[in-house]
């Protein structure tokens, strides 16, 4: 027993020495970013990862609905979130910093055979609330209106509700989970109408983009926009500032311009 006790004491004395002698390794900074699905469709997860890796920042990106992105940011599961939702609107921004970086028009798209080229905001509200049910009521052909909407969790849906619908609910008929599915429905089903980010719409030149109050998406007076924000925690690591600066650089701004998005910080 005495022999075993001696060995045990020796082991207990040696182990801490070994542990202390092992040099501590500083963890390399890893950017855990969460994107909303719209951000992923516009900017592309792979090209973002490639851009950050070129700047020496190891990056992992996951795509979630915006509410999930913000909750993950608050709970430390990621250190950056990018979306087009405004968390301040719902008071969800406690402990977070929002940096708006770019602006993208939200456009109304219809089937290419639709002869309606211009609508007012109130007409759009009436169409999407179900009050207007046929295109002939707004100067189009005698075809029933079919609404195609993105799902309720998306930034585009929330922004559209806030900027167009006001107190009215959207009369959801066909719900598409991705922008690609929205475009597919609009292209193939006559009488359909939807709304989508302009940077996605420009990728499909055969879509009919409706003017609003006579203004096109690139006009100053165009009323519908989505603002994309970087979200970080108030007590972020100092290296997060470098990440933000890469996203504000001239190279990043040029990329936004090629997508038809307006950078806000130049």
């Amino acid at each position: 027993m005495t022999y075993i006790k001696k060995k045990l004491v020796l082991l207990l004395a040696v182990i801490p020495m070994i542990v202390c002698a092992v040099p501590s390794v500083q963890a390399e900074f890893l950017l855990h970013a969460n994107f909303s699905s719209q951000v992923d469709e516009i900017f592309g997860r792979e090209s973002f990862e490639k851009y950050m890796n070129e700047n020496g920042v190891k990056t992992i990106i996951h795509v979630f609905p915006t509410d999930v992105c913000i909750n993950r940011l608050k709970n430390g599961y990621c250190n950056l979130s990018i979306s087009a939702d405004n968390p301040r609107r719902d008071g969800k921004d406690v402990g977070l910093i929002a940096i708006p970086i770019c602006k993208d028009p939200l456009v109304i798209i219809t089937h290419s055979g639709n002869k309606v080229k211009n609508l007012s905001l109130s007409q759009i509200c009436d169409i999407f609330s179900g009050k207007t049910t046929n295109w002939k009521e707004v100067g189009g052909n005698d075809i029933p209106i079919t609404l195609v909407t993105p799902s309720k969790e998306t930034d585009a849906y929330k922004n559209f509700m806030h900027q167009v619908m006001g107190p009215f609910e959207i009369n959801n008929q066909l719900i598409a989970d991705k922008a690609f599915n929205v475009v597919t429905c609009i292209k193939n089903i006559p009488g359909t109408v939807s709304f989508i980010a302009n940077s996605i719409a420009v990728q499909y030149p055969d879509l009919n983009v409706v003017r609003i109050n006579g203004a096109g998406p690139h006009d100053e007076s165009y009323p519908l926009h989505q603002v994309f924000c970087l979200m970080i925690k108030k007590e972020s690591e100092p290296k997060m500032k470098n990440v933000i600066n890469y996203l504000l650089s001239d190279k990043a701004n040029k990329k936004m311009n090629t997508l038809g998005i307006t950078p806000l910080l130049r």
């Binding site: 301040r88 929002a98 708006p100 600066n245 001239d250 806000l264 910080l265």
Partner: protein
């Protein structure tokens, strides 16, 4: 042993000892390098900070420099004749002395030729925070998306009254310094940062 044999052994030892030493003296120089000291290079950018001070926003900057390192180039005599010296060792150990002498000559012939300085990719802090006068500053109001541009004064400050004049009650505001590389994010100010007096000043 015959006298002739003994004589030939003595002559053999006489002519073979010192091979390594002589070959080293006659050897051509070899050029080598070794790392020198780390040097702090010129300042290439700054680390900015901003804080509120009563009714001002105060900007400071800290220089960042690229790290450089020195490479020392030198030459010395090549150590030659090792194998003949090893052959000599069984003969009363003469080869050991020969090798030691050759090594000493090689080391003594070491001569520095020049020093070279190379840049690393590491950037380090090379100074303390000092005020940042004359900096172009951009303040973005996150809610309204309005942006104002202003320059810091000689003390590196901007008065909060400027912000009040442009936009009242529109915190939070994101603060950037405009550099050649583009806007550099420094920090964000929200209501919880400013005390009641400042909030009145800002018109909140």
């Amino acid at each position: 042993m015959s006298i002739l044999y003994k004589l030939s052994m003595i002559l053999f030892l006489f002519f073979t000892t010192g091979c390594a030493t002589i070959m080293t003296i006659a050897a051509p120089p070899v050029y080598e390098t070794k790392p020198g000291r780390l040097i702090t290079g010129d300042s290439i950018s700054f680390n900015y900070s901003v804080k509120e001070d009563n009714t001002y926003l105060v900007f400071e900057k800290q220089p960042l420099c690229v790290q450089q390192y020195e490479i020392i180039h030198f030459k010395r005599k090549r150590l030659d004749g090792i194998i003949p010296a090893i052959v000599e060792i069984p003969f009363y150990g003469f080869g050991i002395g020969d090798l030691a002498t050759a090594e000493t000559i090689s080391i003594a012939s070491k001569e520095e030729t020049h020093r070279e300085i190379k840049k690393t990719s590491m950037i380090s802090i090379c100074g303390s925070f000092e005020s940042a006068p004359g900096e172009d500053i951009m303040i973005q109001f996150a809610d309204s998306l309005k942006t104002i541009y202003i320059q810091s004064d000689a003390g590196g400050k901007i008065p909060l009254s400027v912000i009040r004049d442009v936009n009242s009650g529109l915190l939070p505001m994101n603060v950037f310094i405009i550099t050649k590389a583009g806007p550099v994010y420094i920090g964000t100010f929200d209501r919880d940062v400013f005390d009641d007096k400042i909030q009145v000043e800002l018109g909140l």
